[in-house]
């Protein structure tokens, strides 16, 4: 069964897999998480504002993103981003966007919808009395949010946000559909070049498993440590 399993092909392609592939995957995960949390928090504030002009577009956006497959959204943005770029820069031709920038925009905007729902739950978990107390002290809405509500909401939601980041890390493999060289893309290119599909895909699965498993264990540990005792 594993008699002709070629470990050497994995060994030889390690630099390519990790320097090229994993760097892309990790950078994409980190930046999309950061961007997604910022935009997601803004969307959550919009949804909770109670002002229909803000609530409705935010809700529509989040529900749209949550009801279509990620793969379809990757295709959408892959073709749409150059046109939006052209519209913003007012150039004559659709803007040429690099693979990384295109993926980053896609993942940030898509994950923002999911981070929005997490942050919304986090904000709603703060007792209403705190809002009232801050207002009674004469604090404005931005000050209340920035100094009272959001720091606690964020802290309460850190484990969930990190779990979502692990999901995002796994989802980055889907950039395969637009032929980008992330970790899986790199593995797949070597696999097809050398005709070593068994070795490369098995190895890729192991690497994803080890990283995701270790990360989810770390999150569980963190969750126990930072849980607020009430």
């Amino acid at each position: 069964m594993f008699s002709n399993f070629d470990f050497d092909v994995i060994w030889r392609s390690l630099p390519y897999l990790f320097y090229q592939g994993m760097t892309f995957t990790v950078m994409l995960t980190a930046l999309a998480t950061a961007g997604g949390i910022v935009i997601g928090t803004l969307l959550a504030l919009m949804r909770l504002s109670g002002v229909p002009v803000l609530t409705l577009p935010a809700a529509a956006y989040v529900n749209l993103m949550r009801s279509v497959p990620f793969v379809l959204m990757i295709f959408w943005f892959y073709f749409l981003v150059p046109y939006i770029g052209q519209w913003i820069t007012r150039s004559a031709q659709p803007l040429q966007v690099g693979a990384f920038a295109s993926c980053l925009i896609t993942f940030t905007l898509f994950e923002a919808a999911f981070f929005c729902e997490i942050m919304r739950a986090g904000i709603q978990s703060i007792p209403r009395g705190q809002m009232a107390a801050a207002q009674a002290l004469g604090m404005t809405y931005p000050t209340t949010m920035g100094y009272i509500v959001l720091p606690q909401a964020f802290r309460n939601m850190v484990p969930v946000l990190l779990t979502q980041t692990i999901i995002l890390f796994q989802d980055t493999s889907l950039v395969y559909v637009i032929a980008v060289t992330d970790f899986l893309g790199a593995a797949s290119k070597v696999a097809e070049r050398d005709g070593r599909l068994v070795e490369m895909y098995t190895f890729a699965a192991c690497v994803y498993f080890v990283i995701s498993f270790a990360a989810s264990r770390a999150v569980a540990h963190l969750q126990r440590r930072i849980a607020i005792i009430r």
């Binding site: 073709f79 052209q86 895909y201 994803y208």
Partner: protein, 249 residues
């Protein structure tokens, strides 16, 4: 934007020479729904078994269930699809591998198995959480009445569990439908793949993807609505989310 819109493209003949683009999208929708439905049956059945295993008093069963969930949850679905599609036929004994490779509609069966097992880990999480949310007095009372362990689950714990976890199961069902799009990477011509093919042949990128997006939204709304009806019928009286039947006529 200097994009040339052409919404009548849907009524033009696709390169297969038989169907219009609209019809190819409908065929894709059918494949999406069939794949998701078959995968959901696997996910629901296996997920229930694994979820139950993880709440039994048997340490080995709990360990096995936990390991199952960790394996299927920590490898991306796309990689799992590749493992089933490219790797499995190579590592099984020769004749069986060849049979697997020559299987008609191989990408469909692979997608169903891969998606079903992937989602079963998520269903198992929900089933386990549901069982653990029940007051432990229910299990103890059932044991005290002399029911054996399988009976405790079949007659006492599971009927309550399924009624409680309906809302999260609904979102896992919706996830199954959405995740079936990943199967386009192994050649299943489901809805997203059809939209992509339409874009490649007709160059009407945004019409094709708009149509696919609308179809997914309609499926989403229909499934959500149907599940809400079901949820309302089977909600447990006394729990949050239960709405008492309207009084009077």
């Amino acid at each position: 934007m200097n994009y040339h819109w052409n919404w009548s493209i849907f009524w033009e003949l696709s390169p297969d020479g038989v169907h219009t683009y609209f019809q190819t999208l409908m065929l894709g929708t059918a494949w999406t729904l069939i794949t998701a439905a078959c995968a959901w049956i696997i996910a629901f059945a296996l997920g229930s078994i694994v979820g139950v295993l993880r709440t039994t008093p048997l340490a080995a069963a709990v360990w096995l269930g936990d390991a199952y969930v960790e394996v299927f949850r920590n490898v991306p679905l796309l990689v799992q699809m590749f493992l089933w599609y490219f790797v499995l036929p190579e590592i099984v004994p020769g004749a069986f591998g060849i049979w697997l490779k020559q299987l008609p509609n191989g990408s469909f069966y692979t997608a169903v198995v891969a998606l079903g097992l992937y989602m079963s880990a998520r269903v198992a999480e929900q089933v386990r959480a549901g069982i653990l949310s029940l007051p432990r007095g229910q299990r103890q009372a059932a044991m005290a009445l002399g029911l054996r362990l399988p009976q405790v689950y079949a007659y006492v714990l599971l009927p309550m569990t399924y009624r409680i976890i309906m809302p999260p199961l609904t979102s896992e069902l919706l996830n199954t439908i959405k995740n079936s799009a990943v199967a386009l990477t192994i050649g299943l011509m489901e809805l997203t793949a059809r939209a992509r093919a339409m874009q490649e042949f007709s160059f009407q990128v945004f019409e094709a993807f708009t149509a696919a997006t609308i179809i997914y939204i309609v499926i989403n709304i229909a499934v959500t609505f149907a599940m809400r009806m079901l949820e309302r019928r089977i909600a447990v009286p006394g729990y949050l989310g239960f709405k008492a039947p309207a009084a009077g006529h």
